[in-house]
């Protein structure tokens, strides 16, 4: 049996279902991320595990024990709150030391452990400050140190790194992963940064409007998104509406506005409406006549290690990402060809939903 188990958890606030029928099993020592757009119920789910919100329906088991109705202060979890929830009247040192004090760790042992936790989050020089004398990112790191120092069996992190700069965030991600490997802490992290979710999680749970839509390894979520929503929410994607024209046992041909492209999805039937998803980095720029499509560079953006192109063509504007290998990029307005291998095309059945919701496209 798994270490932490949520079974058919539902939370209703009046008519609103904040979390609907969520089931999730987390193994001991596993790092799981909850990923989803704002307001999809990530915090609510975490708060139910923590014991601050009582589920309307369902059970939560921890290490075989039913904790659904257990008091929050009997669960022994380490929590980083989305609002940090530091004790404003205590110094950074006392904030971090509070949990140890509650665990009745002897005073002499507390000091080195607090100092270790503070140095882990690069805050050693700030031990004597009060929370209101810190920046947002520093407060967030105090919250992290405070949760880590008690070495809990389960860590619940609600967007623990959202306020840090890119470098520090990467360093903290690495630390989190290290701690989790060394100590074997089971971790559930909420994030809306998909790069973060992908880089440190064993598994990613994608939530949408209170429900779990996919639980999988990061790379499978990216490569095999189960819904069109996920493919749009996770990373950038080109969505192309089409119709199946031929279907065989191993694949099919789809007509995209008159252009036939092969796909490797089995089980499609002729005449079916489908949506093809192709990740921008799976498209290659070729000489104008050398690909499946032709187009023209409408726009290009330099991303450092990559180039992002917007290519106008017969299927509308497509995004293409190419690695920056040091060669001269294609000029704006230049005619180009687009090529891809049939194996990178993901097929979703049914018509494309409304135009991509910009608000949901979280960059990462």
């Amino acid at each position: 049996m798994s270490f932490l188990e949520l079974k058919n958890i539902t939370k209703r606030y009046g008519p609103l279902t904040a979390v609907g029928d969520v089931s999730l099993s987390v193994e001991k020592g596993e790092f799981v991320s909850l990923l989803g757009p704002s307001g999809c119920g990530k915090t609510t789910t975490l708060q139910m595990i923590a014991g601050f919100v009582e589920p309307s329906v369902g059970t939560i088991r921890l290490d075989g024990r039913d904790i659904t109705r257990a008091k929050a202060n009997s669960r022994g979890l380490g929590i980083v709150f989305q609002s940090y929830a530091l004790f404003p009247h205590m110094t950074v040192f006392d904030n971090v030391s509070f949990g140890l004090e509650m665990q009745r760790v002897p005073k002499g042992e507390r000091k080195p452990r607090v100092e270790e936790a503070l140095s882990l989050v690069h805050l050693s020089p700030y031990a004597k400050r009060y929370p209101r004398e810190l920046s947002g990112g520093q407060r967030q790191r105090v919250a992290l140190a405070r949760a880590l120092v008690i070495r809990p069996p389960v860590l619940l992190l609600d967007e623990p790194l959202s306020n840090l700069d890119a470098k520090l965030r990467e360093a903290m991600q690495f630390e989190l992963r290290e701690i989790q490997r060394k100590v074997g802490t089971t971790t559930v992290m909420v994030t809306h940064d998909q790069a973060e979710a992908f880089s440190i999680s064993d598994r990613v749970v994608v939530m949408e409007a209170g429900r779990i839509t996919q639980i999988d390894q990061p790379y499978r979520i990216y490569e095999h998104p189960e819904t069109e929503f996920i493919s749009r929410f996770v990373g950038k994607t080109n969505l192309l509406p089409g119709k199946v024209v031929t279907a065989t046992g191993a694949g099919a041909t789809v007509s995209l506005a008159g252009i036939s492209v092969p796909v490797e999805t089995a089980g499609l039937s002729v005449g079916e409406t489908v949506t093809l998803c192709i990740r921008p980095e799976k498209l290659h720029l070729t000489a104008p006549a050398g690909g499946l499509l032709t187009g023209r560079v409408a726009d290009r953006f330099f991303l450092g290690s990559q180039w992002l192109y917007h290519i106008d063509g017969p299927l509308g504007t497509l995004m293409v990402v190419t690695p920056n290998d040091g060669s001269t990029p294609a000029e704006q307005g230049a005619p180009v060809g687009l090529d891809w291998s049939p194996s990178v095309v993901r097929v979703h059945r049914g018509a494309m939903a409304e135009a991509p919701d910009v608000a949901l496209e979280v960059t990462g």
Binding site: A50, G51, F52, K71, A72, N73, S74, R75, G76, L77, G78, I79, F81, S83, A85, L86, F87, P88, H89, M90, F98, G99, M102, Q103, Y130, R132, R146, I150
Partner: protein
């Protein structure tokens, strides 16, 4: 701001000169209140202070001239000393009891969900709608020799007790009148707390009591502080409660001032007592404020 340098560029006609003007808006906005304060508080206070230095002639009842004799009389007379000490003892006791009752009351109130919270807030505030005099009479009827409390004591076989005209009665009645002034500031500062902070304490395994003592109480200390100052100040200058429940013997400073003005007709003496009360009150409150708030300024801002 424009790129030109306002200090050196000569202002062309018709263009607004970028002169730093004295901001008049704050003056206009605070003006009415300041005028009202000056007319209704400072002027009488000033006149009272002036009066307290006047000589008083018992034979003619005339006042005038300059003397410090009233102050000397108050400072040296044990009768006055006792009254001042009693006043501050009663006020301090009433304040302490208000903290002990009012703070938990405010906390419980803040934990209630809405229909009940509004109902109980109203219950706490409702006594303010009734005149203090009426409430004092209520207490005197309740505790009088023929009142229901003594009736119950007799029925229980304990016998009649003298409840009125004691310090205890005055304290109880003061607490009753002052409690809303403690509950409201504490409740306001509880409203400003992030509930997640208390949850954080619980998540580290703190019991509810520990979380309240270690995490909630220190954060609402400013509210408790302002509540205490209000309650202490109002109690020390309370008139109706000691006047009606303290009787002729148990005097507090405000009742002595009243006596000087209206029984002895020695207005300068009454004024001197009032000025000393004001000064003592100010000193006590400022010291208390310094002590408690200085301690927490850096932490809570």
């Amino acid at each position: 701001m424009s790129a030109s340098l306002p200090d050196t560029a000569p202002a062309s006609p018709g263009e607004e000169t970028p002169v730093r003007r004295f901001p008049t808006a704050p003056l206009f906005l605070s003006g009415p209140a300041a005028l009202l304060f000056a007319a209704l508080v400072l002027t009488p206070l000033f006149l009272t202070a002036l009066l307290s230095f006047n000589q008083f002639d018992y034979a003619t009842g005339r006042t005038g001239g300059f003397t410090l004799e009233h102050y000397l009389a108050v400072v040296t007379d044990e009768y006055y000393l006792e009254i001042f000490l009693r006043t501050f003892r009663i006020s301090a006791l009433a304040t302490a009891i208000c903290v002990v009752i009012g703070v938990p009351e405010a906390y419980i109130l803040s934990r209630m969900t809405n229909p009940w919270r509004s109902i109980f807030l109203l219950v706490i505030l409702a006594p303010l709608l009734v005149s203090v005099v009426v409430r004092a009479f209520g207490w005197s009827m309740l505790l009088g020799p023929e009142g229901p409390v003594n009736g119950a004591l007799i029925a229980l076989g304990i016998g009649r007790m003298k409840l009125l005209y004691s310090e205890g009665t005055v304290v109880v009645a003061l607490v009753h009148v002052m409690l809303p002034f403690m509950v409201i500031p504490v409740w306001t500062s509880l409203q400003k707390l992030d509930p997640a902070v208390e949850q954080a304490a619980l998540s580290f395994g703190a019991s509810r009591a520990t979380a309240i003592v270690r995490v909630v109480a220190p954060q609402i200390l400013p509210g408790i502080l302002s509540g205490s100052l209000i309650v202490f100040g109002l109690s020390a200058s309370a008139f109706a409660i000691p006047g009606l429940l303290g009787g002729r013997r148990l005097k507090m400073v405000a009742t002595v001032v009243y006596d000087q003005y209206l029984s002895d007709l020695n207005w300068p003496m009454g004024a001197a007592v009032a000025v000393i009360l004001l000064a003592a009150n100010l000193i006590i409150m400022l010291t208390y404020h310094r002590m408690v708030e200085g301690h927490y300024r850096r932490r809570l801002g």
